[in-house]
Symmetry: C2
């Protein structure tokens, strides 16, 4: 069977099964998630045994310790996975909500309500917890899930999906709403991306190479989750006592993630006084500095090591303790720098001046603008969504952290009493 | 210059110009639209002269009368185009609206607001009025417009764009927010679809072949506007006095458009009594009937000509006075037929039974569900949007008629007082 035939057939059975989700009540979906959470905990021995097979294969094939850690399941991590499913089950039902409502002059009632997409494909990498996290978010939002994880996690994913499907057997929801797409063949990813008309949406989570393949090859609509080259702009009207901790937090607290800062833009009016303080603090926190001419002069004047930043530096998502620094003359100049080098993820302004804050917001063109706070807050859990299926780095449909609501679409319910169009 | 280089350069200047739109107030955008409307009227002689060149070329190249009519501008049509621009200028500002707002426990204020996409490409066919309609909707929603019309309308489009750009010269908004993409080279469409990172969104309006090319080739996000195979289901609990006019209106009032009905599904409980009445009325309205076995027997029993419907018939968007008829045993059977053959555009149920209506809605999976009313109401103007840039036939971002709001995306404004993430 070709990968396309296989994926089409999984999608077809997911589609049929998704109808049991369309007619399930919110209470039934909630109960299904709780049943899944219970099953994951009660079958943890089985899950851990499968995970050990993946770990062993990973060690044999020489996966590095960071990847092995991402692959690892422990009793604590299993408890956390089940807890996550219970947490999602407690969130407000994202389906059937009225988004707009009106009565037309001809008496027709218009109502726009939230409804599921239908069948959603996820393509993701090593961590097996994503298998459950994604499945429960999709199930709670009324969607069937086609899960294409990493081959390195195949045993863990197989058991986790089996446990979830078995749990659904005792509910009104068909087990076929959760399907594992085989990961032994790279072609299954392409097949998922080309199952147009059978899969409503594909969400890739992973490397830039994966995202690029999705963009180039997909005929199915996708939501890109992407890179973050985030900036912190220190305005001339910044409260500098806020600026320093925000700079350090944005860069240092977890440099490997997409909402970490990669570039500091200092207004020239604060550069001479605050520049040395900021550069020194970054250096002392172990951050390697890449500076434009003006900030390089400041670094040199206080004896802090720094190299001259190139255009490539300004485009780079380091993911490590490295940062770019540039001096700018205005909010507009900061915004122009961001427009040139940013990735429309998260941009921060530190300023006490309302006019400058508003102008920065108007010109920012990104998923989240941080005003006097850390870039690290662009995060579904931090923003109170309760769960996050990824951070959208595109403008279509959903922008920024995506929770349950982002996994719904809408339909118009147009109710008449026999009206016809003249 | 290659088509890609050309389109990239237009997109770059549109991007720079779009910043004048980002910082323009709603009042400034509104005034710009009114200035454009005035200019279109005051320069109508010039516009009509350019249109006559297109008409002449069209006649020479043997365009059929329907295409020539679509291409034609008249003083009345120019007045209508200007009136449309004024109407859009009067609509509520779609930008800067607060969609969600909350305060987190750490004191951070979250606000999700509507913002422009930035640069939007439109690919469309013959009618030159779309050049203005699209430009003003995009401008009012804060977006720069890259307009790629048909080569058959090139003279009309060139003058219309020039008139709009000249009008903007007296405003705070840069003329470069409206750009005509040359239509003399088919490659400019592909270039637009591949201007990833330079164009935020492309909306194709036109033939199935154009839509398919967009789906296959685009690396830029797109919103598909597509085909409508719409159904009218007559439930066993239908008020048959409503059913007949709705069936006739859905099929006959304007058969060429995407929200016209292509298939009638009759519940078996009403088939014997109402079937003959409905088939006779359709036949008398000049509609050619394609019937399944059961409805064919009904047609024969009352001497109405009909052919046996094939699966291909049930998939066809006729665009003409032809219709399919099938008898079904339940709401679920009607929904299954729709799931198999529909295009997720508009589906109607005629029923006085709440349970059946709700189940039909839950299983419909389409942009608009009509309850006891005509499929022809899936239309931005009819639904009170005031303007429509197209009807989305996809689930991502916007579904159904798209007005100003659909041309916006969102950003999160996260306002703190120095908070950092622990």
């Amino acid at each position: 069977m070709s990968a396309q035939t296989l994926v089409n057939s999984l999608a077809d059975s997911a589609r049929v099964a998704s109808r049991t989700l369309s007619i399930a009540t919110g209470a039934e979906r909630k109960a299904a998630l709780q049943t899944i959470a219970d099953a994951i905990e009660s079958r943890s021995t089985e899950i851990l045994a499968a995970n050990e097979k993946d770990m062993e294969a990973g060690r044999t094939s020489g996966l590095n310790s960071s990847l092995l850690d991402r692959l690892l399941l422990t009793p604590e991590r299993i408890t956390a996975i089940a807890g996550g499913a219970r947490q999602v089950s407690e969130l407000p039902d994202p389906l059937g909500n009225t988004l707009r409502k009106s009565t037309l002059s001809n008496g027709i009632q218009l109502e726009q309500i939230s409804v599921p997409f239908g069948v959603i494909g996820m393509v993701y990498e090593a961590r097996p917890n994503v298998t459950v996290d994604a499945a429960v978010i999709l199930l709670m939002s009324g969607n069937a899930a086609l899960l294409r994880g990493s081959s390195s996690a195949v045993h863990s994913n197989e058991v986790l999906v089996q446990v979830m499907r078995d749990a659904l057997a005792s509910t009104t929801i068909s087990a076929d709403v959760i399907q594992l797409v085989p990961s032994d063949d790279r072609e299954t990813v392409k097949a998922l991306l080309n199952a147009r008309g059978k899969v409503d949406l594909v969400i890739p989570r992973g490397s830039a190479a994966l995202i690029r393949m999705v963009v180039d090859e997909s005929t199915v609509p996708t939501i890109e989750t992407g890179a973050g080259v985030c900036h912190v702009y220190i305005d001339e009207f910044a409260d500098l006592s806020k600026a320093l901790p925000i700079i350090i937090n944005s860069k240092v607290q977890r440099p490997s993630v997409c909402n970490a800062a990669e570039t500091i833009l200092l207004h020239s009016a604060v550069a001479n006084d605050f520049g040395p303080v900021a550069l020194k603090a970054l250096h002392e926190a172990g951050v390697v500095l890449h500076c434009d001419d003006a900030s390089l002069a400041i670094a040199k004047s206080v004896g802090i090591p720094a190299s001259l930043a190139t255009a490539e530096n300004f485009c780079t998502e380091y993911g490590t303790l490295e940062i770019n620094v540039a001096i700018v003359e205005s909010v507009d100049a900061a915004s122009a720098h961001i427009a040139k080098f940013g990735t429309q993820h998260t941009e921060a302004i530190i300023s006490e001046n309302d006019h400058n804050v508003k102008r920065f917001i108007a010109l920012a063109d990104c998923a989240a603008v941080m005003v006097n706070t850390s870039t690290r807050f662009t995060d579904g859990e931090q923003m109170g969504f309760g769960a996050e299926i990824g951070i959208s780095n595109q403008k279509l449909h959903a922008r920024g952290p995506m929770g349950l609501e982002a996994m719904t679409t809408t339909t118009w319910i147009v109710t008449g009493n026999g009206q016809i169009r003249s």
